[in-house]
């Protein structure tokens, strides 16, 4: 095994691994500070923050160090490479680099949105000198409010790492951003008339190590140290990007991509990033309801749930096919399991169907070439299937039903009058039922709708159960590739709504509390297709349902 020596510590690296000094040092538990380097972008070695001493250990045991400092991000390591990142010389270089980066920096941390998660603040504290020796006035460049619909640039805070520029060139391929002028007049700007509005644009804000590029959506909403984060998964499409949900006092403020090589890589798309507003809209269902003949009978959870329980128990002698449960691909694996199992217990003849699967256009592949056509290799895919868990729900349906019944055939059967009772577990925030289709539901004797937002169906339902948005519940989503990832309850939903898992747990008369990890174990032990869930805790990156994909991480995309 090739061995690299980092600050006198030997570290082994894989025989075919291509690492640079920063990555090798990370293996050794040391940090080499860096700004411009990002593992998904090309290397430019322009910020000089990562300067280290590099040398080589010869086979005869002598060590030859290079006389000058080298940028660690640009120096690949091989067997015998020696890296020193804590010598006086390196510390002095780090100090000098930071002083240089801060020469014209306004240091307006109090009004800067990045403060608290800023690369300049953190490194100044760790490696900097604590004061500036500049006597001359600072070179302050005017802000650019319109980099894109969602992005604003505080030009004076930029440290010219060009991460944003490389992102638009290499990952989105749209190349709207560029460096204009030279020397100390360098500035980031957009190509005239080409605002940065591509569907991955929001990522440049995350990539920016300082407070130069800011998201207009989040600007001045909160100080970041007040936010509490939970790991989750974006439900926007079947790519299933790993994200964090940042909230304070039960108000969701932003989503950020979380790096997961098995899922999407390091980024997320803007549809997902900004598309969660429905979760805090006033269209949310906020109280359970039992209706009869168009009149509300009860709005009390205990009453509604127990009446619903006895009503469903009365269906046990109904003949085959008249009781249908439709589970939306927005439901988690646990919810689908609880509901499917409960329905089959109530009436073994109950039919389980898959709720409407919304697809929009075609898979959107990045990077794009100059004509807007995807070019290879693909680095990010926004999938056409706009739901997070079709595969997970299908596995449950396959187990309990043996086939996947599409929602269209359920609608057809309702129209023909062969269905009397329908239980819909929804969750899709975009109207999943048209008014015309909803009119067909009038034929039903009993309609139960468990959903997030009010819809044409929920207004007709005999029982309405207000569920929770994905950020408000625990569960599992299985993405297009069979990667099962855990979502976590990051905040509480509006008063009156309840996490769907809890509703179904109580409805099916189980004892105890809904606990996603224990349910995963139960599911894993009962359903061979989902055996991978039996670990219970899916960890940060999730587990793959197919063992093939487990051993080999999927390429980014």
């Amino acid at each position: 095994m090739p061995t690299v020596i980092v600050n006198n510590k030997p570290v082994e690296i894989g025989p075919s691994e291509k690492l640079n000094c920063i990555q090798a040092a990370e293996r050794a538990g040391d940090t080499i500070p860096s700004y411009c380097w990002h593992h998904d972008l090309s290397v430019v070695a322009s910020c000089r923050m990562c300067l280290v001493e590099v040398g080589e250990k010869k086979p005869d045991g002598t060590i030859a160090m290079q006389p000058k400092l080298s940028p660690g991000c640009q120096t690949p390591v091989k067997d015998g490479t020696v890296i020193v990142s804590n010598s006086e010389k390196v510390l002095a270089a780090q100090k000098a680099t930071l002083e240089y980066l801060l020469l014209n920096h306004p240091l307006d941390c109090p009004v800067c949105d990045q403060a608290g998660e800023c690369g300049l603040q953190d490194y100044s504290y760790k490696y900097g000198r604590g004061y500036s020796r500049l006597q001359e006035p600072k070179n302050i460049k005017p802000d650019k409010d319109y980099i894109g619909d969602q992005i604003t640039l505080f030009t004076d805070r930029c440290i010219m790492c060009t991460r944003c520029v490389r992102f638009t060139r290499e990952i989105s391929g749209t190349a709207e951003m560029q460096v204009i002028s030279r020397g100390s007049h360098e500035e980031i700007d957009i190509f005239p008339g080409e605002p940065c509005n591509n569907k991955l644009a929001g990522n440049v804000v995350d990539l920016c190590p300082v407070g130069a590029l800011c998201s207009k959506d989040f600007l001045y909403q909160q100080r970041v140290w007040w936010l509490k984060s939970k790991n989750s998964v974006c439900p926007g499409c079947s790519t299933g990007c790993s994200i964090t949900v940042d909230q304070n006092e039960d108000v969701l403020y932003r989503l950020k991509p979380r790096e997961n090589p098995q899922a999407q890589g390091s980024f997320m798309c803007d549809e997902g990033r900004f598309g969660w507003k429905y979760a805090q809209s006033d269209r949310r269902l906020t109280s359970p309801e039992q209706r009869s003949g168009g009149k509300t009978i009860s709005r009390d959870w205990d009453v509604v749930l127990s009446t619903l329980g006895t009503t469903l128990a009365d269906l046990s002698d109904q003949k085959s096919g008249t009781f249908v449960v439709a589970i939306s691909p927005w439901a988690t694996v646990e919810e689908a399991y609880l509901l499917a199992k409960f329905a089959k217990e109530v009436n073994p003849n109950a039919r389980l169907a898959l709720g409407p699967v919304r697809t929009v256009g075609e898979d959107d592949l990045y990077p794009k070439d100059i004509h807007g056509q995807p070019s290879l290799p693909t680095k990010f895919t926004i999938r056409a299937e706009k739901c997070p868990n079709r595969r997970g729900v299908e596995s449950i349906l396959n187990h309990f039903q043996g086939e996947i019944i599409p929602f269209s055939s359920v609608l057809y059967d309702i129209e023909s009058g062969s269905i009397e009772t329908l239980f819909v577990l929804g969750g899709d925030p975009e109207g999943w039922i048209s008014d015309a289709d909803a009119a067909k539901l009038d034929k039903l004797k009993l309609l139960i709708v468990q959903d997030l937002l009010g819809s044409a169906a929920s207004s007709k339902a005999h029982f309405v159960l207000p569920g929770a948005a994905w950020a408000e519940k625990d569960g599992t989503f299985v993405n297009h590739n069979g990667l099962a990832q855990a979502i976590h309850r990051g905040l509480r939903g509006p008063e009156g709504s309840r996490p769907d898992g809890r509703i179904l747990f109580e409805l099916s008369g189980r004892r105890g509390l809904f606990h996603a990890a224990s349910l995963r174990k139960e599911i894993g032990s009962q359903i061979p297709e989902l055996a991978a869930l039996s670990v219970g805790d899916l960890g940060e990156f999730g587990v793959s349902l197919s063992s093939a994909a487990k051993t080999e991480p999927q390429p980014v995309g």
Binding site: P106, L107, D108, C109, P110, V111, G130, Y131, S132, R133, L134, Q135, P137, K138, I140, D143, D145, F154, D156, L219, Y220, Q221, R223, W225, W226
Partner: protein
Amino acid sequence: MPINPKDIEWVEEPSMNFWESTYLPAVFDGLRTTGQHVADFHPVTEFYPEQKPDLPSHYRGVHRLNRDDKGRVKCVACMMCATACPAHCIDIVAQDAPKDDPHWADRDKFPKSFVIDELKCIYCGMCEEACPVDSIELTNIFDLTGMSRQEMMFDKEKLLSVFDQTKDSAHNPVRTHKGKLGHASDFTNLHTLGPATTVRADDRSAKANSAGVIE
């Protein structure tokens, strides 16, 4: 624990002589003190509220929000005070400054709303300590009354009016004597920061205007 008899010291009452047992010397002694007070009159009672107490200028009373040299609220809505406040009684909603308005051109951010719950506040002064632009300050005003809890929620306008009332009083000096915002927003004239750490005397920063002072 029982008391050790060795630790007990018995004290005998001193016996009184003839004059002392008449009590007259003690009575005259008392009358002498009374006479002294009558002759040399020093009142110690304060006639509050007719007479206000003379409080030191570092007394921590009601807050004020200072104005900058253009009369705008000086606060840049950084929320450092709300972060530092141990009573969690400051609530700020920030807004970006209207860029097209020349009056606000040099500012990025300001408080859309700024509310201090003066009933929750413990008048510790941490907010004043935390403020990077010397916007929030505690004044000398201590006699705070209100007819309802709502009245004691001091909003931006009220806090600014406290500034207008107190800025010229000798007891509530505008402590920095600067309308300037400093580093949080004032980009055109940034001074070298004096070193927060010790430096060699020949270091250029040791000769900076503000050396040794953290602005």
